[in-house]
Symmetry: C2
Subunit: 323 residues, 2 copies
């Protein structure tokens, strides 16, 4: 590829999304279009060590770039499950035990010298993607959420991604919605995530008599049963929706939000989740400014994290506040 200014402008970003279930990568054009895509299941072999997992990821990226004809890159943008140190991105994803303090950004910098390499929390990349090219486009104050095995999020306020003191802003999953509620994996009690995460809902529904008839069920199975009219499954979805609505009311009051974009597997439950969410939100958010907030499904679906990872590079003035 030519190294003229026009050539450099057309270069894609190599975007990566690393979670406990899958590792996905894409080439993203400057406008946000995905021009190449690859994914693998995240290896769960307990014998695989940190370097073995890194080589697996590296092979995925090498193949994607090679299949696209080895274009020059504008940079590398990555969303990874937390926690991590930020911006150094020594990552310790909760659901990837092989990586504890793994120097992901340093490894990628060594592998892709001469271009920006930027790594942030995966939920942060979701809000960056939804703000850049999705449901929050053109709005200044957006909360992006991922409701799935956990409940994560990220904040764009006054038009800029908010990092907070240590890159951890956006943890909507640990807004307290019931101070005497169930214990949370974070060590606290009554967090949104403790109630609305998929496994939490499944456990609650099973306690209440839901018998799905097989093992390894998830929140998505629960939502499917709720849609088929199972009363306990429907109650579980109402419970999740109510907790989400309370947390969103609190976040709206604190941050004066315009749009909340919700992605993740559970968000596909539709009205079963969004109706009780709206009911609780409207009960608690009554002041004129708070009534303006709109809660919508994430517009970019499974690619929002990848497109947001690309935005860390393409629109660094709004989404990247570090070196």
């Amino acid at each position: 590829m030519s190294d003229t200014a026009a050539g450099r402008e057309a270069r894609p970003v190599l975007a990566v999304d690393i979670g406990g279930t899958k590792m996905a990568a894409a080439l993203v054009a400057p406008g946000g279009r995905v021009t190449g895509y690859g994914r693998i299941d995240t290896p769960s072999d307990p014998a695989l060590d940190a370097d073995g997992l890194w080589r697996t990821l590296e092979a995925l990226l090498d193949k994607l770039v090679a299949d696209a004809g080895a274009p020059a890159l504008a940079g590398v943008g990555v969303g990874c499950g937390g926690p991590m140190t930020w911006p150094a991105a020594e990552v310790s994803p909760l659901n990837i035990p092989a990586w504890r303090g793994f120097p992901l950004r340093a490894r990628l910098r060594a592998a892709y010298p001469g271009v920006p390499v930027r790594v942030h929390n995966d939920a942060i990349c979701v809000v960056a993607g939804e703000h850049w090219r999705g449901a929050g486009r053109g709005r200044g104050n957006v909360l992006g959420m991922v409701v799935s095995t956990g409940v994560g999020g990220g904040l764009v306020l006054d038009g800029h991604l908010i990092d907070g003191a240590s890159g951890n802003a956006g943890h909507i999953g640990h807004v307290v919605v019931d101070p005497e509620g169930p214990p949370c994996k974070c060590g606290g009690r009554g967090c949104l995530e403790a109630i609305a995460r998929g496994p939490g809902l499944v456990a609650w529904a099973q306690e209440q008599g839901w018998r799905p008839g097989r093992r390894d069920v998830t929140g998505v199975d629960l939502a499917a049963d709720a849609r088929r009219g199972h009363p306990v499954a429907a109650s579980a979805m109402r419970r999740a929706g109510r907790a989400l609505g309370i947390a969103i009311a609190s976040a709206t009051h604190l941050c004066d939000l315009e749009v909340v974009a919700i992605g993740g597997g559970l968000s596909q439950a539709g009205a079963l989740l969004f109706d009780p969410l709206e009911e609780a939100l409207r009960r608690h958010a009554r002041m004129a400014f708070a009534r303006q907030v709109q809660v919508v499904p994430a517009a970019l679906g499974q690619t929002s994290g990848l497109i947001g990872a690309a935005a860390l590079v393409f629109a660094g003035d709004r989404y990247w506040n570090a070196d």
Copy 2:
């Protein structure tokens, strides 16, 4: 005064703080020092109309500037009780019935032509003051709170004042701390303010058998009785502290805060309020990043709102995001 660059740099800001109880004004030097001060009780005569109240304020400002030798001003900065349209600042302070949609900024611009005139919510000015010259100085992520007749607040994140969609960011008083708790004046239920505002605490304590022996008692009287060992008064302060701790845990998780600076009359209750606050906060904020947050009394006391109003002009790059 000379109009050289040095002369312009030394000009003070005329800072104004308008609330339902008092109206205060000060001349603030570029470093943040108060060089002149005046205050009056906010007139409560129901016969006084909007223009009459404006003339009262104008007289206070005229006298302050004249007494100081009529220096040239760097600008006018104002904190006013909400709600208001922002940045136009047509103000309708809850506790000043004479002003409903009163064009405060336009009137001040006409009175002080040729210099910037900037008006924001009074609690926003408190966080600007505490971040510029008080307890949050040098930190990037600060929540300022005022705990008094109401519970207000303002946010500085990533080093900048956050306005949100309509200038209403920072409403920590309406973070939900008990979804089935008492009704709130905002129309919601279980808001921090519904529990921890002074009149709410007084009402709760009286229901529980507190008999202060006179009328018109406030949260400050309640705190005094708690200090003297009255068990119901002490319980009321614990109730407030716990609600504050839960709301601060939620805000810390969402915004990755470093410092929470608490001012207002009730904050003077000291350990009676701050001990149960810390206990609830530490129970709910357990992740490493959230444990870092420090909750401290506001450092600038009664002048933080005035100093913050001056910061809207002197440090507009950080605290003023409008025209």
